[in-house]
């Protein structure tokens, strides 16, 4: 009887599973993951099936599909979503020996592991006579009134940065800081990170808060006007003494009901290998999580920096509170 059904439904089933296959839900967009997956397939013969999309929506999809879900590997573009997937019990402990990573890049229970990191920084125009803030925190000072361009609090990078600050400095300092930033804004938040950088060069503001890989992307852009703008930008890193520059991670988890667990582990190992780590740096200007992997020329040009030490699980957990804090501070 069962075999009859197998034949009946083989053609109907949404995703059939064969021996050498692995199914990936990715909150990272296709251009930033597909080339790696293709390379993996070429090297191992394991076929990779991919759905990309908004991380939270993919998390909801995995949750609704439950124990029958086909998904093996979850790829997320920020710590908050990795933690959310873990807390919704959609992941399982990775039973592999992982390469030597800084402990903050691996979940305590090994439910996720980081793939890359990115830094969120204060940027300014080279050669301008502004007084540089000694840290992200100092940017809230009254003397920077009307000088800041930053995107909306709806954006996850701002939420993560705020959550990390809540962990580091406490709610009260962070509240005051968020209010200060909101009051110092040169304009209502709009656009993406690249737009803040452009507005800063256009003279709308003196400082832009943006992720480094956007600047890196502009520096290596095929569009000359973007390169021209990016060439004029310098970064004011937050030094170790002030807590270091805020970083976030992208990372992977193995799905709790992964039907192709072995292949998923194989793919995970592949992604953390040195060659792939260097690829991220080269193509998307993100920092590798493995020490000793070469940075791209562009990243080297932006300079080495001291990263803040943060517990990404705690940071992810505080994401909602961070948004509420920003709401109250009037950060639109």
């Amino acid at each position: 009887m069962a075999s009859v059904f197998t034949i009946l439904f083989a053609g109907l089933s949404a995703a059939q599973s064969f021996a050498a296959e692995v199914n990936v839900y990715s909150g990272r967009q296709e251009a930033l993951i597909k080339p790696l997956l293709d390379k993996f397939t070429a090297q191992t013969g394991v076929k990779v099936n991919l759905v990309t999309g908004k991380a939270d929506a993919l998390i909801s999809r995995a949750a609704s599909e439950g124990e029958f879900s086909q998904v093996d590997l979850l790829v997320m573009a920020d710590a908050g979503r990795l933690v959310r997937a873990k807390n919704m019990r959609l992941t399982q402990a990775i039973g592999l020996d992982l390469p030597a990573l800084s402990s903050s890049f691996i979940d305590e229970e090994k439910h996720w592991v980081a793939l890359t990191t990115r830094a969120r920084t204060v940027m300014y125009k080279k050669g301008s006579d502004v007084v540089l803030p000694e840290s992200m925190l100092a940017l809230a000072d009254k003397k920077y009134a009307g000088q800041i361009c930053v995107r909306s609090s709806s954006n996850i990078y701002n939420q993560s940065m705020t959550a990390a600050m809540m962990l580091d400095k406490g709610d009260e300092v962070t509240s005051k800081w968020a209010k200060g930033i909101a009051e110092n804004m040169a304009r209502k938040p709009k656009g993406g990170d690249r737009d803040q950088i452009k507005a800063m060069i256009a003279g709308e503001c003196q400082f832009a808060i943006a992720n480094t890989y956007y600047l890196g992307g502009m520096l290596t852009s095929s569009d000359e006007s973007q390169r021209e703008i990016a060439e004029q930008v310098a970064i004011a890193w937050t030094p170790k003494s002030e807590g270091g520059t805020h970083i976030n991670i992208s990372g992977v988890s193995i799905a709790k009901h992964a039907p192709n667990k072995a292949a998923a582990e194989q793919l995970l190992t592949f992604m953390l290998a040195e060659e792939q780590q260097a690829w991220y740096a080269e193509v998307n200007q993100e920092y590798p999580v493995i020490d000793g992997v070469n940075w791209s020329k562009t990243l080297e040009r932006l300079g080495r920096f001291d990263a803040q030490s943060v517990n990404f699980n705690d940071m992810g957990r505080l994401n909602g509170d961070a948004l509420k804090l920003m709401d109250k501070a009037g950060w639109q």
């Binding site: 009887m1 069962a2 059904f5 197998t6 439904f9 109907l12 089933s13 949404a14 995703a15 599973s17 967009q29 296709e30 251009a31 099936n49 991919l50 759905v51 990309t52 999309g53 908004k54 939270d56 929506a57 909801s60 999809r61 609704s64 599909e65 439950g66 029958f68 879900s69 086909q70 908050g80 995107r151 909306s152 709806s154 996850i156 209502k188 938040p189 709009k190 656009g191 993406g192 737009d195 452009k198 507005a199 060069i201 256009a202 003279g203 709308e204 992307g217 852009s221 095929s222 569009d223 006007s225 973007q226 021209e228 994401n319 909602g320 948004l323 509420k324 709401d327 109250k328 639109q332």
Partner: protein, 539 residues
């Protein structure tokens, strides 16, 4: 049981299935999270509401102004090369709102060639910004009006076209000026159609996320995303979506009320409609008037996109035919299914004297105003549940585990599109039915009592223009649809909109130009078909 009862039963079954995702959203109201609500009320809720109301009313007003003016002119005047304008006026339909928003931002951007050119012409230093910034609420209203006015144009054109010459003659005999005729006769008679178009625009504007997110306008939809993604609070997000539903329901009831006289007994088939010939200065004026909306809503952004796609983009064209194939297949299939459903629902509502079927249609229309992602999540929960139940059944009876059958299939995408876009099709089919006089039904049934005969030989031929415009609108809507496609699609399945969005959301606007212009290109095909049909009808 006769055939019509069967149709009624089918209608009820399909309606129940389509309404399930909406209910799964609405059910969230039973688990209120008072703390989060208090927080929203204290901080951002007023902003969400005001911004959404202004965006919806503003976009509807803008679209009505553009759509009604052009619709009136095209229906009443004959002039040189009118056929070209007929095509051109509908082109913005193919332009997704978020794409036009990104494009204008890039076009007027500080570092853009246009900006540089203006600075060069007036010899201004390169640090001066001369073009206005469009990224705010009123900018969003303009963007929405520019791409959504064809909804009003299509409906008002059809309405004006069906106003017989006799009406104009009566006005003239009564010594009324043309202007007075327009405002006192033509417009009030076309009002139901105009308002229907306006309601569609409002719903589209309320559901929009891409444009407002990029422009930093905190609307209700943006708030739903923010609450869900930012706060990780799916329940409150669903409650916000329910509130949006309720608001739209009220708007739809108002719209329906305004249409209640539309079931009038005017036999508009016997009356001829002639158009007046325009030459000279009037011709130039009409051309300018009708060219402006598509110029800003289509040509300028398309040229910019083409420029990017050809000169600066590095986007790979690998697998592009696949993207194109998927997009066409999905849009065509969805258009066919959704219009078939809409026909069934509006037919049942027309043939039933009691009101509950037309109320049901209003309920089914709600999906249009919900952000696609909210519908997607409703659909996911339903399909996940159904798959689980089915697996449990087969496991316990046959020891067989088929896995997911609906989830992650094309079927689920079509389901979500039906929930989301049924309204678009319904508005057209209902309007189409409303224009067929009830006397026609009575006469036809007298000659041949078969309802099937009435539907196939009388209604369907008369409805053909409505069916076609419904199919076109659903086709281009699905073509442009993003959030639901993004989450629900099967493995390794991409569409043009998905590709364009992924690149644009990574702030790689220029690389997004190629898939974006392809969306526009694919959208042109059905637009041209529709125009051909509109023309055939009028001759």
């Amino acid at each position: 049981m006769n055939g019509f009862n069967w149709i009624k039963i089918f209608a009820v079954i399909f309606a129940s299935i389509l309404i399930l995702p909406l209910f799964s959203v609405l059910f969230s109201v039973f688990s209120p999270d008072l703390d989060t609500w208090q927080h929203l009320i204290d901080t951002v809720l007023v902003d969400y509401i005001t911004n959404s109301v202004v965006l919806a009313l503003g976009s509807a007003t803008g679209a009505i102004l553009l759509g009604t003016t052009t619709g009136y002119v095209m229906a009443n005047y004959q002039f040189a090369a009118k056929a070209i304008l007929q095509i051109v006026l509908l082109l913005p339909l193919a332009m997704p709102a978020y794409i036009i928003a990104y494009t204008y931002t890039g076009l007027m951007d500080f570092g853009s060639p246009l900006h540089q050119l203006i600075r060069d012409v007036f010899s201004l230093p390169s640090t001066v910004s001369v073009l206005p910034d469009i990224r705010h609420l009123s900018g969003a209203v303009v963007m929405m009006s520019l791409v959504l006015y064809p909804y009003v144009y299509l409906l008002s054109y059809a309405a004006f076209k069906s106003q017989p010459d006799a009406l104009q003659n009566v006005s003239t005999l009564a010594g009324k000026s043309s202007l007075s005729h327009i405002f006192n006769v033509a417009l009030p008679m076309a009002r139901p159609a105009i308002l229907t178009g306006g309601a569609l625009v409002m719903m589209e504007a309320l559901a929009d996320y891409g444009t407002v997110a990029y422009f930093g306008v905190n609307t209700f939809s943006a708030g739903i995303y923010r609450t869900w993604f930012g706060m990780g609070n799916r329940e409150v997000a669903a409650q916000l979506a329910s509130a949006l539903c309720l608001f739209v329901f009220l708007v739809l009831i108002l719209e329906k009320y305004s249409r209640k006289d539309a079931r009038r007994y005017v036999n508009n088939l016997a009356n001829k409609k002639t158009t007046r010939e325009v030459t000279g200065k009037g011709l130039v004026f009409i051309w300018l008037l009708c060219l402006l909306p598509p110029l800003f809503g289509f040509f300028i952004p398309s040229i910019q996109l083409l420029y990017w796609a050809v000169f600066t983009s590095e986007a790979d064209t690998q697998g592009f035919s696949n993207l194109l194939g998927n997009t066409l297949y999905l849009s065509a299939l969805a258009a066919f299914i959704i219009v078939a459903l809409a026909l069934m629902f509006s037919y049942v509502a027309r043939m039933t004297s009691a009101n509950h079927f037309s109320r049901l249609n209003q309920l089914l229309s709600l999906g249009y105003a919900l952000p696609g992602l909210v519908i997607a999540v409703g659909v996911i929960s339903i399909s996940g549940w159904a798959d689980r139940q089915f697996n449990m059944f087969t496991i316990s009876w046959f020891d067989f585990r088929p896995g997911l059958i609906i989830s992650g299939s094309i079927t689920i995408l079509l389901f979500a599109y039906s929930v989301r876009y049924l309204s678009v099709a319904l508005q057209n089919t209902e309007n189409g039915f409303a224009r067929i006089s009830l006397q026609t039904d009575a006469a036809a049934l007298n000659l041949n009592p078969s309802r099937w005969h009435l539907l196939s030989r009388i209604h369907l031929p008369l409805l053909r223009p409505s069916i076609l415009s419904a199919m076109l609108l659903v086709f281009v809507d699905v073509l442009k649809e993003l959030p639901a496609t993004l989450v629900l699609r099967p493995f390794n399945f991409n569409t043009l909109a998905v590709r364009a969005y992924e690149l644009a959301s990574d702030e790689r606007l220029i690389d997004a130009a190629l898939p974006a212009i392809a969306i526009v290109g694919v959208g042109l095909l059905p637009v041209c078909l529709l125009i051909y049909q509109l023309e055939r009808r009028s001759t």
